[in-house]
Structure formats: C-alpha cells, structure tokens
Amino acid sequence: MSKANSVDAAYEKENQFIQQFKALANQENLDPEEAKKSMKEMQIRYEKLLDEVMLLTSVGDRLQRKIKAANTLLKEQAEEIRQINASLNQKNEELQLTIDELTRAKSGRKATTIILLITICLFIASEFAEYLFQTITHFDQQAVVYTTIFKVFLCLTFKPIESYLEDSFLKRAMKDRKKVTVAVGS
C-alpha cells in the first residue's frame, strides 16, 4: 500500500461519515428531526476531529523541532569530524617525514658500520702488504712510501664509498616501503 493510501486508510471512518452527510445534505425533502440528529452528530464528530487536528499539529511541531535539533547536531559533528581528519592528515605528513628521516639515519648507520669493518680489514691488509713489500724489495723506505700511498688512497675513497652505500641502502628501503604501501592499498 502506498503512503497516500495508508493515510486514506487511517481516516476511513471520517471519510465514510462525510460521504453519508453529503448524501443527506443533497436529499430533497429532508426530515427535520433526521437533519437535526445528523447535525448533532456532525457537531460531535467535528469537535473530536478538531481536538485530533490540534493534537497532531502539536505532535508534528514537536517532531519537526526534534528533527531540526538532530540536523544541527549532525552538522556540528560533521564539522568536528572534518577538523579531526585535517589534523590527522597533518599528523600523517609529519609522521611520514619522521619515517623518512629515520630511514635515512638507518641507511647512514649501516653504511658507516660497513665502512668501519672495511677499514679494519684494509688496515690489517695494509700492514700485511707493508710487510710483504719490505720482504720482497728489502728496501724499508720504499716499502713505507708505497704502503703510505696505499693507505692515503684508501682514506680518500672511504667517504665516496660510504655515500654510495648510504644511497643504495636508502633507495632499497624506499623501494621496499613502496611495495608494502601498494600491497596494503590493493
């Protein structure tokens, strides 16, 4: 049943009475007693209907006020949610920057650790090389010169090697993070 039909159904008795009263009013040679009785009934029903209309108007107004109050509250809450979202987005950006910094620091530390290990190994290797030079050439001074040059060369390459390693680790970490983000997104 449609909404209009359901409202009609709610007022079926009232409609029926109106139809009866209309039929009576259109009668020719209406009996005065019958007319008076119908008028009386009409008066009683009209009073009841008036009470009903006033009550329903009052109920309707109250419901509308309630809806208006609910709408206002919803708007306020929507605005609050919008502000919280904006704040969360900002926090996300800050978090992202922090993560990037941490990743960079981690990569740097890794590279430094590796360089340190290489340094130790090369130091041991250079001492051994110096010993070998001395043994092969039997010229202490030359051996010292060669090994010193070798050590200087190594020192000069440390920083570039460290930077290269740091960049490699950083690129790999960023790539891994992108893979995780894509996997979570899908």
Binding site: A10, L55, V59
Partner: protein, 127 residues
C-alpha cells in the same frame, strides 16, 4: 477473555493484554510504514474485548518514539478507553516518559487534556 500479544519490531511497538492482571500495554517505538494496517487490528480487538473486562483495567502507554500517524491511532485507542470509562467501568491510563524526554511528556499532556479518564504521567528510568 482473550489475551493479546503482538511482538515488537524496530518500527512497531509491543502490544499486549494480560487477562490475569487486567493490564493492557503498548511499549516501544511506533513508526510503522502503514499505521492503519498495524493499529486497526488493535482497535478492533479493544472494541470487541473491552466490554468483557469487569475489574479495573490499567492501560500502559510507554513509547520511546511515535510518528504523527501513530499519534492518530493512539488517540483512537484512548477514545475507546474513554467510552469504556463513560459506561461506568474502572479504567486507569498510565503514560510513561523518560526523565529527559520532553516530547513524549508533552504529548502525554496533550492526550491528558482531551481524554476524560484517570490519566497519570509516570516518569521512568532508562535501563
């Protein structure tokens, strides 16, 4: 004397008559898609059975929310109770409302003004 039980749903209230205690009860939410379809059987039951009640009957109306078309039928039920009372039978109407629910309270006051039957407004606590 027949008992009556219509279970509650999200949109319609519990309707119950307990013959042992002579208690008639409507409680819950009332915003059915078709109020006439829901309430006309209740109106009919009350019209047919109210005359069979001999002891004092208490009518409990305990709504959380009702729409405008339900308000029309609530009035119709109250009018039937009023006719029953006017025929010399004992009837008491209890209209319940939550402490902070001004809307249900004021609706009860509106009905109290129209219906000439002992009519109590009862504040209830939320459980």
């Amino acid at each position: 004397m027949k008992s009556l039980y219509i279970p509650p749903t999200d949109d319609t209230p519990l309707v119950q008559f307990i013959p042992e205690t002579n208690d008639f009860r409507i409680e819950g939410n009332s915003y059915p898609e078709n109020s006439a379809q829901f309430y006309q059987p209740v109106v009919q039951w009350l019209t047919e059975n109210l005359g069979l009640m001999t002891n004092r009957t208490t009518f409990h109306f305990n709504f959380d929310y009702f729409n405008t078309s339900s308000a029309k039928f609530i009035l119709e039920l109250l009018r039937i109770i009023e006719d029953f009372h006017n025929r010399g039978n004992e009837a008491l109407i209890k209209w319940y409302y939550l402490e902070d629910d001004i809307d249900v309270l004021e609706s009860g006051e509106d009905y109290q003004r129209i219906i000439k039957v002992p009519f109590e407004l009862v504040e209830r606590q939320d459980v």
